[in-house]
């Protein structure tokens, strides 16, 4: 069981959290006007029951979620804290030189150290410290220039040594924060959540229970893989805030390159602690831990379910039946269930790891790591906002560092910001999705995209031709200029040339001309199409239509 440090101090809620809670309620009312404007503040048990039914649907619309959230927010406040384990993507394990790769043959990446064999001694991987310092700086934490390792002792088949090397009372980093923007479909808004601590530790192996048998199977490849544990302050108030916190952690982890933060693979694991208390009460309610969350949306739904469950019990006067326990989220049934009621708490008998020296950081080292940090998601979002992009564009572009880098490179070549964003979010994203490629794999390069945008803007080619060229560039690469020349795609804008083509088409289609004259003005499109066909799509649409209107209406 993870050790959680939730302070006993009555936390003065920062002002913006209050105002954001108000905001949510306001939004809630907005959405609720469909039902009835006069909504009673007190909830009846039946109302709560109806509420509880909806979380069991797998897809709950954001509006409905917010409606429920705001209903609950009226009487109760949920307090949520999250413990996250991030698996580091180092080449070797934390305390031995075994290489680790996800999916390798079981029990092949092992050695006496990670197997806990007698006499083996741990030696810390320097890259683990580097990753920890990077993450700590990215999360605005205070670094401990001197920290130590401790033994967390318990017996379990996936733990070879009988203890886990972790950091107990002196972690490498404490007291930070993370900034994020909520997605627009959930009301948007900026949030800042506190980070209590970050510490280094090692992972255990993988345990698989056999169906009916009296035995289990263990794969120790993962034993000894380095982890960073990030404990948040209990600042989150809703399921969406919690899942966005986790998503932002994933974003930061990927931006820094310290891990791939994949929940499905298990390289990012979250345990959530939820409690509720009546609004105005200073003491926290009894907290419940939820495990077995495998995706961000599960985090969201599990928390909202658990909040409903606890509020329901409160409303029925049964708040004492909420006990401190661990519950499992069942994805199929969409509810939390008791894992097992515990009597007493785990006793890990922590003591300082005698086989490892202190971890000492120097100011120079920390500064050099700081300099190597890339621009973080929060900074990128603020910069994109300032460039005039809409929040929707900002959230899309800043989500993946490779996409953001592509975008930055494109506008650095002078491309128009909004146009570049549109191309990337539109046609390019669609192509990537279809072909299941990442932006690094596509053959289009940023400066060619910039060239394409410039060519369309200058009128050299039409927008439609631009789209065709794009597809070719994405699939096969090449240069814009090259393709324009090769396929002779330069737009025809010369008035004389267009007039000649229009004359020819009009002469070739007397019947349609008759129909047009007698009132079927829609046929202008037909003529335009014919000219486009004749010009192989190169005629400038603006000039073409102007000429058509003149000529079609002129002759008698």
């Amino acid at each position: 069981m993870a050790f959680t440090l939730f302070r006993n101090v009555i936390q003065a809620q920062p002002l913006f959290l209050h105002s954001s809670a108000l905001l949510r309620r306001k939004n809630g009312v907005l959405y609720c006007t469909m039902k009835s404007t006069s909504q009673s503040q007190t909830q009846t048990a039946t109302e709560e029951k109806q509420q509880q039914k909806s979380p069991q649907k797998v897809k709950v619309s954001p509006q409905k979620q917010m409606k429920e959230v705001s209903k609950i927010a009226a009487d109760y406040e949920a307090v949520i804290g999250i413990e996250t384990h991030v698996q580091l993507s180092t080449l070797t394990k934390a305390f031995c030189s075994c290489p680790y790769s996800y999916g390798a043959q079981p029990n092949t990446c092992i050695c006496p150290v990670c197997m806990g064999l007698p006499g083996a001694l741990p030696v810390l991987n320097s890259r683990v410290i580097e990753c920890a310092v990077k993450l700590a700086l990215a999360l605005n934490c205070k670094l401990s220039f001197s920290s130590k390792f401790d033994r967390k002792q318990y017996f379990y088949p996936d733990l070879p040594k009988g203890y886990q090397i972790s950091q107990f009372d002196i972690p490498i980093a404490t007291g930070g924060s993370i900034d994020l923007d909520l997605p627009l479909e959930f009301g948007g808004g900026h949030r800042r959540f506190g980070i209590t601590r970050i510490h280094m530790e090692e992972d255990a192996g993988k345990l698989m229970h056999s169906g009916n048998g009296s035995y289990s199977l263990v794969d120790l490849n993962r034993a000894g893989v380095p982890l960073l544990e990030i404990v948040s302050e209990p600042d989150m108030r809703t399921g969406i805030e919690a899942s966005e916190y986790a998503a932002e952690l994933q974003r930061v982890v990927r931006y820094l390159g310290v891990g791939n933060g994949n929940m499905q693979e298990g390289s990012l694991r979250c345990d959530v602690n939820v409690s509720v208390r009546p609004i105005g009460q200073a003491e926290f309610g009894t907290k419940v831990e939820i495990k077995n969350l495998n995706s961000f949306s599960s985090i969201n739904r599990a928390i909202d379910f658990e909040i409903s469950r606890q509020v329901n019990l409160h409303n029925q006067g049964q708040q004492d039946s909420i006990v401190q326990e661990t519950r499992l989220w069942e994805e199929g049934a969409q509810k939390t269930v008791t894992m097992r009621k515990k009597e007493g708490l785990a006793d890990y008998r922590y003591f300082p790891e005698p086989d490892l020296p202190e971890v000492v950081l120097t100011k120079d080292y920390v500064d050099s790591v700081g300099k190597s940090l890339p621009e973080l998601p929060e900074a990128k979002r603020r910069r994109y906002e300032e460039m005039g992009l809409s929040m929707q564009d900002v959230l899309f572009l800043a989500n993946d560092i490779t996409v953001a880098d592509f975008f930055d490179a494109t506008i650095q070549k002078g491309a128009d910001v909004k146009l570049a964003a549109n191309w990337i979010m539109g046609d390019i994203a669609a192509y990537m999705k279809n072909e299941k490629l990442s932006i690094i794999d596509i053959k289009l390069v940023p400066h060619e995209l910039a060239e394409l945008i410039a060519s369309i803007k200058s009128g050299t080619i039409s927008g439609k031709i631009g789209k065709e060229i794009l597809f070719e560039l994405l699939a096969k690469g090449g240069t814009v200029k090259g393709l324009i020349e090769e396929k002779d795609l330069v737009q025809i804008t010369d008035l004389g040339d267009i007039e000649k083509m229009v004359d020819k088409v009009i002469a070739e289609n007397p019947k349609q001309l008759e129909q047009y004259r007698s009132g079927k003005t829609k046929l202008q499109g037909y003529f335009a199409g014919q000219v486009m066909k004749a010009s192989k799509g190169k005629a400038n649409p603006g000039v073409l239509n102007k000429v058509l209107v003149e000529k079609l209406n002129a002759k008698v």
């Binding site: 069981m1 050790f3 959680t4 440090l5 939730f6 302070r7 006993n8 101090v9 180092t90 080449l91 070797t92 030189s97 075994c98 290489p99 043959q105 079981p106 029990n107 092949t108 092992i110 050695c111 006496p112 197997m115 064999l117 030696v123 810390l124 991987n125 320097s126 890259r127 410290i129 001197s146 130590k148 017996f155 379990y156 088949p157 009372d169 698989m208 229970h209 056999s210 048998g213 009296s214 035995y215 289990s216 199977l217 263990v218 794969d219 120790l220 926290f284 009894t286 907290k287 401190q324 708490l345 785990a346 006793d347 008998r349 922590y350 003591f351 300082p352 020296p357 202190e358 971890v359």
Partner: protein, 157 residues
């Protein structure tokens, strides 16, 4: 499991590691954590500068060591629990003499640094251990490619 001779000594020392100075802490969420290290209140020994605050007697557990619980957490079967209680207490009291030391002028330290010259770190370079077959051969129960173990559901059992 019979505890005799060498085994007696070993299990005794294990019990000691597990029992030395349990300090129960209470934090805001009502959870309890325990420190098994000689130290009072919420700070481990090394952080305390004024040991004068605590006399040896005050720090020692008022109750006798809960030998049954200690044996359970250490996963040691004892046939005779009574004899260990006083022995464990004796060792704790003996260490308790340290509380009498005045640490006011002493810099807090964590690990004996004189023993190490600088920090001992390893580069992130993979090295495959050559004798993994020997490790596998030494396993008491192997169900290729996994290690077979008795079924244990919960970590706290």
């Amino acid at each position: 499991m019979a505890t005799r001779g060498l085994l007696l000594g070993r299990s005794f020392s294990l019990l000691l590691i597990n029992s030395s100075k349990m300090v129960k802490l209470s934090n805001g969420y009502g959870r309890r954590a325990s420190y098994s290290f000689l130290g009072g209140s919420s700070n481990p020994l090394w952080r305390q500068n004024s040991a004068a605050k605590f006399s040896a007697k005050a720090l020692v557990n008022e109750e006798a060591p809960d030998v049954r619980r200690l044996a359970k957490t250490a996963r040691i079967s004892l046939t005779e629990q009574e004899e260990f209680g006083p022995k464990i207490q004796q060792v704790i009291d003996w260490f308790g003499q340290l509380q009498g030391v005045d640490l006011n002028q002493v810099e807090p330290g964590m690990i004996d640094r004189k023993a190490e010259e600088g920090v001992n770190l390893r580069d992130d370079v993979p090295v495959t251990f050559p004798k993994t077959d020997a490790i596998i051969e030494g396993l008491p129960s192997y169900d290729e490619p996994y290690v077979r173990v008795p079924k244990v559901f919960h970590k706290d059992d």
